[in-house]
Symmetry: C2
């Protein structure tokens, strides 16, 4: 196997006010899932006070999540799919049509690349990794 | 602001059989959320035939997801948190204790870095990006 899943990390800036509308977010997410040829199992959308929406769709092929910061016009999304028939960029395009960001940044991460067969260095030292991670994440918000 | 969220991408290989146990996965996820000082809003866990478990927890601070391929001993997880009080590496440690992977790979992605103030090149050409993404993701599973 080459890899097991595709994980798109999606950054939208300059979005319209729709990112603060939970009903619209739910509609956009369902349409995005269908566009990606994925199968929806569950969807939860929450609104926050004073603003912000979080939505997570559980898929047969993994998940789609969205988290909005309307005060910055920012939407963080990710779509994780497995299988040969899914089209995750199509989900991004649906979200883009709904929320009209002026800036889009994408990152594609291949998930499930077997470390025994890949050419990447093996990183077995969990303790070192977690210490690096803590130094990276500490106090950075 | 420096960034709005922390997104840990987690690869576990060589896991025990617990990654195929939906009840255990739910328990581990809830414990991981608490360890990370996050607040659980919803959790959905699904089992697949013949094997595999997907779980997604919606948090006040974003989400935690897990997707397992027991046939490879592989668990893909991610934890996305915002706020200064969360501790996402603690969630990873809980999952590691439950599923005992022999190999752990982590990637830390800072989410919501304002493109107007960051030193990163601005990537406004959505059409080019989506074409790059399609060429990357096409036929790679």
């Amino acid at each position: 196997m080459e890899h097991l899943g595709k994980h798109l990390i999606i950054e939208f800036w300059g979005c319209n006010d729709g990112i603060n509308d939970a009903d619209l977010m739910r509609t956009a997410m369902i349409e995005a899932v269908h566009a990606a040829h994925a199968t929806l199992l569950d969807i939860n959308v929450h609104t926050f006070s004073p603003h912000g929406v979080t939505g997570v769709a559980v898929l047969s092929e993994s998940h789609l999540s969205v988290h909005s910061w309307p005060e910055y016009g920012y939407l963080a999304a990710d779509v994780f799919t497995c299988g040969e028939t899914t089209d995750p960029p199509a989900a991004v395009e649906v979200l883009r049509q709904y929320f009209q960001p002026s800036v889009v940044e994408l990152q594609n991460i291949q998930r499930g690349i077997d470390p025994e067969t890949s050419k990447r260095p093996k990183r077995r030292n969990w303790t070192q990794q977690i210490h690096e991670m803590e130094s990276i994440t500490a106090g950075t918000n």
